[in-house]
């Protein structure tokens, strides 16, 4: 069984992911824990958030009297604009994404393989909701960081030799941040554990991981 109290909580995972943001970056954040990354942008680092429904320069959630139905993010939540904001069509939005103009995307996942394959859009037999912009993001954004729980509630690994679920992208993940630590993935070279969360041991990580990984902590 996975001990859910071990390692980082959701906010700490988001804070760790925020360390990957560099000054001047254009950034796309996925739904769930990745959304929290916006709360932990390091001091002195200025980033511009892209929302793939057609906005660059996404501001915070609105105060109640500022809510505007014409102003939502890709998670369909109401948001606000900033002085730097621009709006554009869906095709132009994905020209930014697929054209390699976005520096980093931080996304959630169901499974990641040791080669960097990602599965995060469907579970066959259950309701299929769709991939939205995830396949375009992993194909086009320069760096893909995944933030997810290390294992399922029952302790089954999510870092696998091969993904069992339908893929979102093949060999697309560059980094995985879980509640237990940080892994880097290099194309053709595999996965490497580079950081452990406080009070987490390599053996404990191994007990909850199927993927092969080098230890570099």
């Amino acid at each position: 069984m996975a001990d859910e109290s071990k390692g980082w909580d959701r906010n700490q995972m988001a804070a760790r992911a925020a360390q990957e943001l560099k000054d001047g970056f254009y950034v796309n954040l996925g739904i769930g824990i990745p959304t929290l990354v916006a709360n932990y942008i390091p001091e002195g680092v200025d980033v511009t958030l892209q929302s793939e429904n057609g906005m660059l320069g996404m501001g915070p959630f609105p105060y109640e009297d500022e809510v505007d139905p014409d102003l939502i993010n890709a998670g369909k939540q109401t948001i606000t604009e900033l002085r730097r904001t621009s709006y554009f069509s869906s095709a132009e939005s994905f020209a930014m994404i697929r054209g390699g103009h976005i520096n980093i995307a931080i996304l959630g996942a169901m499974e990641v393989s040791e080669k960097g394959d990602l599965a995060n859009w469907m579970i066959p037999g259950k309701l299929v909701k769709g991939m939205g912009g995830a396949m375009d993001l992993v194909a086009g954004v320069k760096k893909i960081v995944i933030v997810m729980d290390h294992a399922s509630k029952s302790g089954s690994p999510k870092l696998l030799h091969e993904c069992s679920l339908p893929l979102t992208g093949k060999e697309v993940v560059d980094m995985v941040i879980t509640n237990l630590g940080v892994f880097e993935v290099e194309r053709g070279k595999g996965m490497r554990l580079v950081e452990l969360a406080p009070d987490v041991t390599v053996d404990y990580v191994k007990s909850l991981t199927e993927a092969k990984f080098e230890v570099a902590v």
Binding site: V67, D68, L71, K76, S89, S90, A91, L127, L167, T168
Partner: protein
């Protein structure tokens, strides 16, 4: 030629037929052609193929056409907010073709620009790529996707002029601008029809050549997820 129509029903007069393909702009419930969707429902036209990023919610937007079973097939990227959709899809009553969101947008843009196909990295190595032509460019693999043209595109804009020039507001532009180019006939519903000369020609989002009919609508503008923050108290 007069493009301005009196109401949504007359804006669609003579354009609808069973089995047709309709593109509908919007992202979630943001920037959807609310009035034209209702008019399509009321017309009773059926066996529709609908191209839209999402499928509305059960009782609003494109969900209305699902309730009445007027849709045969949906082409979308994300349909997670609609229970009736789920029921019809799982029981086999509704066909569904998933497109990655960027691929869907580009298919509309390409179709409207007379480009029948394009290569993209999106979906390579996934089930989206199955059966599609693969081609290498500079050592990377890409798949062939095709442009889309619809019998009818329905879009929603903020303001339009008598000529059919359109501007959108904030994130309500989304798929509307791309789909406006890809309809054999494009009908726009707007919040306000303004006299010629009152829109800044430097800031037209959809030039009038793409718009065949225009109608002023009454909008509910429902919000799916109202998310707010608290005001800090001094």
């Amino acid at each position: 030629m007069k493009k301005i129509q009196n109401d949504a029903a007359s804006a669609l007069d003579g354009l609808l037929f069973d089995g047709m393909t309709i593109m509908a702009g919007g992202f979630g419930l943001c920037g959807i052609p609310e009035n034209l969707i209702v008019a399509i429902r009321d017309s009773g036209v059926k066996d529709l193929t609908v191209i839209s990023n999402n499928a509305g919610v059960d009782d609003f937007g494109l969900g209305l056409l699902l309730q009445t079973r007027q849709v045969k097939k949906m082409l979308s990227s994300y349909v997670g907010e609609n229970k009736e959709f789920e029921r019809q899809y799982l029981s086999g009553e509704l066909e569904l073709e998933f497109n990655p969101q960027g691929t869907l947008a580009e298919r509309c843009r390409a179709g409207g620009a007379g480009i029948p196909g394009f290569y993209t990295k999106t979906g390579v190595g996934t089930r989206i790529a199955e059966g599609k032509e693969h081609k290498e460019f500079n050592g990377e693999t890409y798949i062939l996707e095709t442009g889309l043209v619809a019998d009818l595109a329905i879009v929603k804009a903020w303001k339009g002029d008598e000529q059919g020039n359109l501007i959108y507001r904030r994130t309500a532009r989304n798929f509307n601008a791309d789909m406006a180019t890809a309809g054999k006939v494009t009908v726009a519903e707007v919040e306000e029809i303004v006299p010629l000369g009152s829109l800044d020609p430097n800031n037209i989002h959809t030039p009038s050549v793409f718009v065949h009919r225009i109608v002023k609508g009454e909008f509910e503008k429902r919000i799916e997820k109202v998310t707010t923050r608290e005001r800090e108290t001094a």
